[in-house]
């Protein structure tokens, strides 16, 4: 597998440098003089940036002895802050854009892809009007309650191998949730992130391909982070859950967002380096569908059986009620309790 072109990330924005410096300094505080020197600006200019950050909701203390201390961050996504938290990744998150609202981040990223934007671009929206899942199904994306984002990748894969993206993205989302919340979700085949029979995150991958290669792939990811029970419409309450509901506390969304990008970058690096199987093995360990009775709907056909295994390509091996074994690549899977 050849290495994709590595464009260097644009130089860090002043706010990224300031936020990163304050985070690493902690209680000690980041010196205004040093920041001014590092950014090649005056101390007054640093002060002005601090004021702007305060307006965005950052609680920043300042003292002559301690410099700037970051006391608290707003529950909002800011591209510069996400860059500061990430501290550099190989591909995913080299560029980040945050929109207050949009129709669908997948549509937006797809447009950017057609304009020739380099891979690794991430677009977050604080709310989506037309967030969607498979086959045009609506995905609830209320403002400020979740993470709704899309990642542009240009993997050197054949369309046949695109299912690897399903596998690695499910692992990355699970790992990020585990890291930031301590919860351990299961993966419902192929990539729903679940607590028991309730879904808390979904992934939809849209490809633009030619017969033998992928032009680009858009990974659309939706995570129900801080939704309360009443944020879900009644018909979803038995099917959906949020990290807040599972953990019993508010979850730090910006920290989780950065963790998502870091883990996606990690698994994508494994894929590019030809280590897909390492991630594939983790996916199998996390897959909660195996050994369960499942109902599958594929078009107008329904299959009932037991999910017995995953094959080399990640297809679900199901033994149906007549004892026959089928390999399943698509359709809707329902796990029986």
């Amino acid at each position: 597998m050849s290495t994709p072109s590595r464009r260097t990330a644009p130089p860090a924005a002043p706010d990224t440098v300031i936020l990163a410096a304050m985070r690493s300094a902690g209680e000690t505080g980041a010196s205004g003089a040093e920041l001014a020197k590092q950014l090649g600006v005056s101390r007054a200019a640093i002060w002005a940036r601090i004021e702007e950050l305060r307006k965005l909701g950052y609680d920043i203390g300042a003292s002559p002895h301690h410099g700037y201390v970051l006391r608290a961050c707003p529950d909002a996504l800011h591209a510069d802050d996400l860059h500061a938290r990430l501290g550099g990744t190989q591909v995913v998150g080299r560029e980040i854009r945050v929109f207050k609202e949009t129709d669908s981040t997948n549509d937006l990223v797809d447009k950017l892809a057609h304009d020739g934007v380099a891979e690794g671009m991430v677009v977050f929206a604080e709310s989506q009007h037309q967030g969607r899942g498979r086959l045009g199904r609506r995905w609830l994306s209320p403002a400020g309650k979740g993470l709704w984002f899309s990642v542009l990748l240009r993997p050197n894969l054949s369309p046949m191998a695109a299912t690897q993206l399903t596998v690695i993205s499910a692992v990355a989302v699970s790992r990020a949730i585990e890291r930031e919340t301590g919860l351990r979700p299961g993966i419902k085949w192929p990539n729903d992130i679940m607590f028991g029979t309730r879904k808390c995150a979904g992934i939809l991958i849209e490809l633009s391909t030619e017969i033998d290669h992928i032009r680009h792939a858009v990974l659309g990811i939706g995570v129900d982070v801080n939704l309360a029970a009443e944020d879900f419409p009644p018909e979803l309450r038995d099917l959906a859950t949020s990290l807040r509901a599972e953990a019993g506390r508010e979850i730090d969304r910006p920290a989780l967002a950065a963790a998502m990008l870091r883990e996606l970058d990690y698994v994508y690096a494994r894929l590019r380096e030809g280590d897909f199987h390492q991630v594939g093995d983790e996916w199998m360990r996390r897959c909660s569908t195996l050994g369960r009775r499942v109902t599958l709907k594929i078009g107008d056909r329904t299959i009932q059986g037991v999910a017995e295994a995953l094959d080399d390509e990640g297809a679900l091996v199901v033994r149906n009620e007549h004892g026959h074994v089928e390999q399943i690549l698509g359709g809707d899977v329902t796990m029986q309790r």
Binding site: L207, E308, L310, V325, L329
Partner: protein, 158 residues
């Protein structure tokens, strides 16, 4: 053909989930068969001992359905091109179940016109016509499995 070449063919078969490969040259013939799925890694022992499971050798990756030709103009074979599936998956003619199909027989399409979706493991692949023309036949069936390289549409270039 040496052992190395044979090995690379086997690798290609694995990579593309091909179950059979046959090649015939002047005085050489090779036929390779591979039970797809039989080499599943993490099967619990109980399953490996199960004669039925291990005996499903030519296991059903979705078998290409007999093409249900929706429309077959008499001259369809003459000069019509095919739009083929770039992957194994499920063929969808509509973006969502209640939506109108992307194209119908008679639809005029351009290179960037989306004609259908192929889905595999929640990867939705929008297939484009790649050429300018008129759809003359829809040869795959909606919401049914399709194979790699299976014709989906016939298109008459204009």
């Amino acid at each position: 053909m040496d052992l190395k070449e044979i090995k690379s063919i086997i690798d290609l078969m694995k990579k593309n989930s091909l179950s059979e490969f046959e090649l015939e040259e002047k005085d050489f013939k090779i036929k390779l068969k591979r039970p797809i799925g039989a080499a599943v890694a993490p099967l619990p022992h109980a399953l490996l001992d199960d004669p039925e499971l291990t005996a499903y050798a030519p296991l059903a990756r979705p078998v290409a359905p007999t093409p249900a030709v929706t429309s077959a103009p008499a001259n369809a074979a003459n000069g019509d091109a095919e739009i083929k599936s770039p992957m194994i998956g499920t063929f969808y003619r509509t973006p969502s179940p209640d939506a109108a199909p992307y194209v119908e027989v008679g639809s005029e399409v351009g290179p960037d016109t989306v004609v259908c979706i192929i889905e595999a493991m929640k990867v939705m692949n929008e297939i484009k016509a790649e050429t300018r023309g008129v759809i003359t036949a829809i040869v795959a069936e909606n919401a049914k499995p399709v194979e790699f390289g299976q014709p989906l549409f016939k298109i008459r270039p204009i």
